[in-house]
């Protein structure tokens, strides 16, 4: 069985490399994008093999699905603008290739040197999981331990949208009607997609899933609707649309403000609890010990009173 698994892993790794190479090298751009989507799906499989089902869901929904749809939509519009998109085939350049292969070999050695005993935070996450409010460790890291990263990441999404709007991207023009079949499919599929997104969001607390995967499923529903030629009513594209896209990041920011406002007390508590759990505390040089005239003092003052 082990041999089978090793063989599967080896084939999958080689398949990933081969698909990536073909996606970049094949002369037809459309084919390249389709190969890239297939590459994304194989990536999802690789995440499953690496015991990262949350990442697999995100990759399948966002990496392969949404990115693929965006790439295809962009290619369709590129063909419509008169821009000649067929370029002469790129010549093979051995100079950079050799340099990169050498750099890759060095990188590979460095990576292999880490494999015997990689350091990580499994133990700390497991110890604090109970206080995070969810039982799926990945969700705990995303929404709680490293929630600040997630806030910034949401803002990156919003920023990309604003930036695209600021470039005055052509509104998608009406194409030939997609036909009754697609329309029918959509009517059947949209409720299912919304339901699936809600399920993913709910399941994320204790099982693989979560907000981003759910959001990506909703996004895919939106892309499908666009493909089928459905458009927002004009009176919904102004402030209502802007409100809809800013409500998520806005809410997250409000939570962050609340945290910042309640911080002195919170920091005091956390300093107390951390003392029990943090292995860093064994190091006398850790910043915890040479810090915090700011946030520790109010707690002290309160206790004195």
């Amino acid at each position: 069985m082990n041999l089978l698994q090793t063989g599967f892993d080896g084939l999958l790794a080689l398949g990933l490399i081969w698909l990536a190479w073909r996606a970049l090298a094949c002369p037809d751009l459309f084919r390249g994008i389709v190969l890239f989507i297939a590459f994304g799906l194989l990536m999802a499989l690789a995440w499953v093999r690496l015991e990262a089902p949350d990442v697999a869901l995100a990759e399948a929904a966002i990496g392969a699905g949404l990115t693929g749809a965006l790439l295809l939509a962009a290619l369709a519009r590129l063909n419509r603008t008169a821009a000649a998109q067929t370029l002469p085939r790129e010549a093979w350049r051995s100079g950079p290739a050799l340099l990169l292969v050498l750099a890759g070999a060095g990188l590979g050695l460095a990576v292999l040197s880490l494999i015997p005993e990689p350091a990580g935070l499994q133990a700390q996450v497991a110890a604090e999981l109970g206080r995070s409010g969810v039982s799926n460790p990945v969700t705990a890291v995303l929404l709680n331990f490293r929630g600040y990263d997630t806030l910034l990441e949401l803002l990156v999404l919003l920023l990309a949208l604003l930036a695209a709007w600021s470039l005055d991207a052509d509104p998608p023009r009406r194409e030939a009607p997609a036909g009754a079949v697609l329309d029918m499919l959509l009517r059947l599929l949209l409720p299912v997609l919304v339901l699936a997104a809600a399920y993913l969001l709910w399941a994320g607390a204790h099982a693989p899933g979560g907000a981003f995967q759910a959001g990506a499923v909703l996004g895919a529903a939106g892309v499908l609707a666009l493909l089928a030629g459905w458009r927002l009513q004009p009176h919904l594209t102004g402030t209502p649309l802007r409100l809809a896209v800013t409500i998520g990041p806005g809410g997250f920011l409000l939570v962050a403000w609340a945290f910042a406002a309640g911080r002195p007390a919170a920091a005091g508590i956390s300093a107390g609890t951390r003392r029990r759990s943090d292995p860093a505390d064994r190091d006398p040089g850790h910043p915890v010990h040479r810090r915090h005239p700011g946030s520790a003092v109010p707690g002290l003052a309160a206790r004195r009173r």
């Binding site: 990689p118 990156v156 604003l162 956390s270 700011g294």
Partner: protein, 496 residues
């Protein structure tokens, strides 16, 4: 601790969190209500200064404030850190940001201003978040937020040159952050933490840390546009709208440099196995000074000239890497000089780009040889350009002079005549390109041009920033202790 308690009321306020959240909230609000974008943008840009003063008083006298976001703390959570080094960059951002915001308010017509304000506030929030972060992966996210905002701002003017410049910039900045992230991956698996403080204790010399240094150094050098990775900078900075060029040259390239300084002073320099990397960075810095200055001298347009001057001035920032103290540690005097140069260059370069924007608005072009007696017609702009240029060239009595003098002194004490020679040559070339432009200010051009009115505020803000660059050189004694502690503390933390 009686005085500790009296200060605590002020120090307890979450200045650092406000400094990050205010611009980001402002950005979302400005995106949501385009009609209020202008007051929101101006208010938030100006609000940075009092908040920064608050943060400064809280930090003063400590060796840095740490704040565990969400109360988790390293290594599980993310930590914010405010110390003298971050304050140098935060103050630069607040000052230049306010000046450019005032300028941009007159520069952009309403259709563009609607987009400028949210994008600028995103950029401001990302910069503040970056300077306050003590977490390697959090730094990656702030880098991406900053990069995307900067790309969108570059493309804001439209037009083929700006769009192509922005596209090239986007690819370069994405490549830079991904290569940086690969280094982060190696460091994380080598040490099991992303926090600077813990990394400083756990990092050991080995293939993983060497490769990580190479990757992170290369990625950040690409984002800082260190020669020969500068290829993306001149087209992007020269074709962006003038206030955006000022922000890019003064602040955005400094942000990736800040991460590099942190990594170097706190993590990699004490490993002692990295001296060769320092020498390489120093060589590239020297090449950047000579190449950038030479290219600047040859440019036919003011904005391109100023952009190539940025390539050259970035080179000076890398001259401190090869300078080591007797114990093999970074030379504090050289790093103090480099931080001084960061502030001086940001003020002067922003002033130069804003002045170039005025020239462009005035004559409809920025070809140097066709500048038509602008000295009589735009005296404030000309004064701003000349003052800022004197600081860039490192002539007394400006901020640039102090920085370059300190750096020269450090190089001389170590007997690094190669660095000294390049710095002097670079100064000569810089004086050459500045006075080439200033000379054309006074001459009539062969063809007269239709002149457009330049709003007074655009002239005054350019002059204001240039005067700040000058004032920096008049009383260096007041600020130098701050810069000293900005260098000494990270190094002391690293040695613990």
């Amino acid at each position: 601790m009686p005085e500790g308690v009296s200060l605590s009321a002020l120090a307890a306020l979450p200045w650092d969190a406000v400094l990050i959240l205010l611009p980001l909230t402002g950005a979302v609000a400005a995106g949501l209500w385009p009609r209020s974008a202008r007051p929101i943008g101006l208010l938030v840009s100006a609000g940075g200064i009092p908040i920064l003063v608050g943060l400064g008083t809280a930090v003063a006298g400590t060796d840095g404030l740490h704040h565990a976001v969400g109360g988790w703390g390293a290594p599980l959570g993310i930590e914010l850190r405010a110390d003298a080094l971050s304050l140098v960059f935060l103050a630069t951002t607040a000052l230049v940001g306010l000046g450019v915001a005032l300028y941009a308010d007159s520069y952009f017509e309403p259709t563009l201003a609607r987009w400028f304000w949210p994008l600028w506030l995103f950029l401001l929030g990302a910069l503040n978040a970056l300077f306050l972060s003590a977490d390697l992966f959090n730094l990656y996210v702030t880098l991406e937020l900053m990069g995307l905002a900067a790309v969108a701002l570059t493309a804001l003017g439209g037009g083929r040159a700006a769009l192509t410049g922005a596209m090239r910039y986007l690819l370069a900045t994405l490549l830079g952050s991904l290569v940086y992230l690969l280094g982060v991956a190696l460091l994380y698996h080598a040490t099991g933490t992303l926090d600077f403080g813990l990394l400083g204790q756990r990092l050991e010399a080995g293939p993983a840390s060497r490769t990580a240094l190479g990757l992170m150094g290369a990625g950040l050098a690409l984002k800082t546009a260190l020669f020969p990775f500068h290829f993306w900078l001149p087209p992007a900075h020269a074709s962006a709208p003038a206030p955006v060029s000022a922000l890019l040259s003064a602040l955005v390239v400094k942000a990736s440099f800040y991460i590099l300084v942190r990594l170097w002073l706190e993590l990699f320099a004490p490993l002692a196995a990295t001296a060769a990397t320092g020498q390489v960075l120093g060589l590239l810095g020297m090449a950047a000074i000579l190449w950038g200055s030479w290219q600047a001298l040859r440019q036919p347009r003011v904005k391109l000239l100023v952009a190539y001057s940025t390539v050259a001035q970035i080179g000076y920032l890398f001259l401190a890497f090869p300078l080591l103290s007797a114990a093999g540690l970074p030379d504090a005097a050289a790093w103090r000089a480099v931080l001084w140069l960061v502030l001086a260059h940001a003020l002067a370069k922003a002033a130069m780009f804003l002045a170039a924007g005025n020239l462009l608005r005035f004559g409809g072009h920025d070809r140097i040889t066709d500048l038509d007696c602008v000295a009589q017609r735009l005296p404030l702009t000309v004064a701003a350009f000349a003052l800022a240029g004197v600081s860039i060239a490192g002539l007394p009595p400006t901020g640039g002079f102090i920085g370059k003098w300190l750096l020269l002194e450090a190089a001389l004490l170590q007997g690094r005549w190669d660095l000294v020679t390049v710095m002097l040559l670079g100064g000569l070339l810089a004086a050459g390109y500045v006075f080439k432009v200033v000379g054309h200010f006074f001459t009539p051009a062969a063809t007269r041009h239709e002149a457009q009115r330049v709003p007074a505020r655009m002239e005054w803000t350019a002059l204001g920033l240039a005067v700040l660059a000058l004032l920096l050189g008049l009383a260096p004694g007041i600020l130098l202790p701050w810069f000293d502690s900005a260098v000494v503390m990270p190094m002391a933390g690293a040695r613990q």
